[in-house]
Amino acid sequence: MPEMTDTQLTRDIARSHGLTPEEYEHIKKILGRDPTVPEIGMFGVMWSEHCSYKCSRPVLKLLPREGAKVLVKAGEENAGVIDIGDGLAIAFKIESHNHPSAVEPFQGAATGVGGILRDIFTMGARPVLLMNSLRFGNLESPVARRLLRGVVAGIAHYGNCIGVPTVGGEVYFDESYEGNPLVNAMCLGILRSKELVKGIAKGTGNPVFYVGSATGRDGLGGASFASREITEASNQDRPSVQVGDPFLEKLLLEACLEMIPTGAMVGLQDMGAAGFTCSTCETAARGLAGMTVDVARVPRRETGMTPYEVLLSESQERMLLIAEKGKEDVIEKVFSKWDLHAEKVGEVTEGNLLKVYDGEKLVAEIPAKALADESPVYVCAEKEPAYLKEVQSFDPLSLPEPKDCGEVLKRLLDHPSIASKEWVYRQYDHMVRTDTVFLPGHDAALIRIKGSKKGVAVSTDCNSVYCYLDPYEGGKIAVAEAARNVVATGGVPVGLTNCLNFGNPMDPEIFWQFRRCVEGMRDACLAMNVPVTGGNVSFYNESPQGAIYPTPTIGMVGVLDDVDLRVPSFFQKEGDVIFLVGETGNDLGGTHYLAVCHGVKKGIPPRLDLEKEKKLYDLILKAGRDRLLVSCHDLSEGGLAVALAECGFSREKLLAAHCPELEKVKPDAVRTDAFLFGETQTRMVVTVEKESAEAFRKLAGENGVLCAEIGAVGAGKLKLGKWIEASMKELHAEWREALPKRVGVI
């Protein structure tokens, strides 16, 4: 039995690790004694919200996880896996690195990318694309500009070096993220289904190897750090932020993938949050086994580290590998080829205990499952937020209509959230691996899979203003819009991963937002038959100014059986017929137009009818397969006018929507500003060749979807009825220069 310390002292230490007195008693019951200091540290991180989901688990259970093609379900492994046919599968996941990025944007974002990459290649998958969803405060603030520059450079640093293309994502700017930026990184990898690797420790006597970077004091207690609010004093947490080495991770990636066909590997797990502690107890718990490890054998980069520090360090680029006994030389050979050092640190044992030694001395002895899976679960108090009634009672129709719609369009295109993100993605290598079929800017990113006809379309999305004004509807729309983006390119949605960014869950109003958002997501997932395959929850996103808007970021993945049937988001040639698909209402609540032109973020956001949404998907996917669509673009922030302008902004050539008689399509009951800039859901702009117009109209009718011919693709000036006539060249410049003019040309 490990040597014990004074009880009162250990209680105090437990409290400083975020463990409540009740949790401490629970730990005593599990162990049958007082815990040692290293044990308190281990429970502290493993039972933090970041690792245990002790607050969010009951709510996350609402989300559908089942699906005929799901090979690895949410929560089972490092990432979910979905079968896509032809013996292939995809592993994907999105994860937050908000808190580290708030204090040290470059390394915070870089290590966020590093962490999500490891989650994917531990499944035996080759990472083929990265995406990210970023949110910052208003760019007028120097802090927001510094954070944007740092985060983008950090993502570029890691992704470019390791050679996985960053093919898309989203960037939003809103005061709500002032001082608490969101950095959500997503990775997708491809594997042969039969080569799936699991994070499992089994087979008594099998050796446990530590591979990769040496352990230092960096990131000590990072998981606990992520489970606190950001305060003025957070800068003192900078030592909690790790430093990334993408080169080392590249070596680890290649070595691990090279290991798969040798059959020498039983299980593989990365050391992310809670590092050595998490990887040892989780693999043992999954394998229903025990494990004995010796921290004295863990390679270190600093002298004088205590067992406690080794157990809790979050140094990057480290893996735990469980090998087949007798095949140690195979493991060592592959790693030494890549100049990596694999150190045997322990072995799998019978029973269920994780025993940690420091040389001869036993420093911790805990049932692995108790650490990994048996944290207490809390039912958090919740209460409908007081602000809701006030914001929802606002009637946008009480506002005057704009006099100059052309001016409104320009202001919207100049808004950093809508403007071109070229300033961002130009810093990312988005073409390495030569699979990027759609360069950034389309509704969804699209890659091909070499050696197969298939393509994979991915979109990240969330409109957090909607989620703030109506969390249920906002959650539903986040899922639907991400799916709509994927559908627009011709992809059939097969699964999603989510990153749920919220404030402090101990605040009943925040927890209410959280549950309602998840319920909205659930209903959308069920209607579309899309399972959730994993992700993460990031609470405590608060700065001294308050909580962020509820932001459940969705990473939607779709598959095209034939990548040649892809549909671009931009107009392709003059003369094509433009259709507006879907119905338009007076939906001004929570719109971008309202915020930018009237300075109001209120009202009831657009409602989403899931039945209609599904019909729209069926129509677009069918029309795509029938090769009727030349282009297809989803309507979102900025509504119809912004969408029509964007359709003309292709890289090759500026094209313009000519809709001289657009008035005729506007329903009488709908205001002009709502028609042009409103954000009614379930709408797309598509173009078809003249000869196909009739066929498309017919197909829409058969599918019960309303569509209206609104004009034709031309050149020169955008013409939207009598309301807007503007040079595409000027609009394009406005849209393209918006970011560089605020943050500097690169």
Partner: protein, 229 residues
């Protein structure tokens, strides 16, 4: 045309070059690990892009000491073809197979985008299928592509017709505004005096299939195929 793609720790365009040669050009190709002390018999050695040794020390600064580089130099000395792309170009500079050095982009930021290049010398084995003065679209992706050399070296390159590609506007003008990284004289690619070692920052392997948006880079492989088969 037998090809070898050298793999350094940190190379990340190795599989792209391999795919381009094997699947697009249907030519035999194999990977060569950087620790090898011999090259397989081959006509073309490709030093691919990436971040060899994580760009530690300097770009290409450590890779030049890899054992295989002695063999690459010997291969070049016999007059056989070597192409260094992006990091491969940086390695060629560091190993002295081409003159000059790389500085960080003048913006100090990584840039990935399609650029327009003018083919300045269509008389090489790498460029014979281009027309002189032709403007082509090939992407770049680098943080350190700001080519630098002293005036004497530059004069020598110009006199020897060794500047093969320049960054230009889509209309073919070598203006400063078309220079993505600040490189001397808008240089995007140079060749050695003998005409068998080419270094270029743009990635021809990324522009060799219609599905990727351009086939202009493929012409380099096609030129080589005609010369080396």
């Amino acid at each position: 045309m037998k090809c070898s793609v050298v793999v350094f720790p940190g190379s990340n365009c190795d599989s792209d070059c391999f795919h381009s040669i094997r699947d697009v050009m249907s030519q035999p190709v194999e990977y060569v690990w950087h620790k090898e002390t011999t090259l397989p018999p081959c006509d073309l050695v490709i030093l691919p892009g990436g971040f060899s040794y994580g760009d530690y020390l300097r770009t290409g600064g450590i890779a030049r000491f890899s054992p295989v580089m002695r063999e690459v130099a010997r291969h070049a000395k016999t007059g056989r073809a070597v192409i260094g792309i992006c990091n491969g170009f940086q390695i060629l500079l560091e190993s002295g197979l081409l003159p000059g050095a790389m500085l960080r982009n003048r913006s100090l930021s990584f840039r990935c985008e399609y650029v327009s290049l003018r083919v300045e010398n269509s008389g090489t084995m790498f460029t014979k299928n281009f027309k002189k003065g032709e403007v082509v679209k090939i992407p770049i992706a680098h943080g350190e592509g700001n080519y630098f050399c002293d005036e004497k070296t530059l004069a020598g390159l110009l006199a020897g017709n060794q500047v093969v590609f320049r960054y230009v506007t889509p209309n073919g003008a070598a203006l400063d505004s078309a220079n993505p990284n600040g490189s001397a004289d808008n240089i995007a690619g140079i060749i050695n005096g003998k005409g068998n070692v080419l270094g270029m920052m743009p990635h021809p392997e990324r522009a060799a299939e219609t599905i990727l948006g351009s086939q202009d880079g493929k012409k380099i492989w096609e030129s080589l195929l005609e010369c080396l088969k």
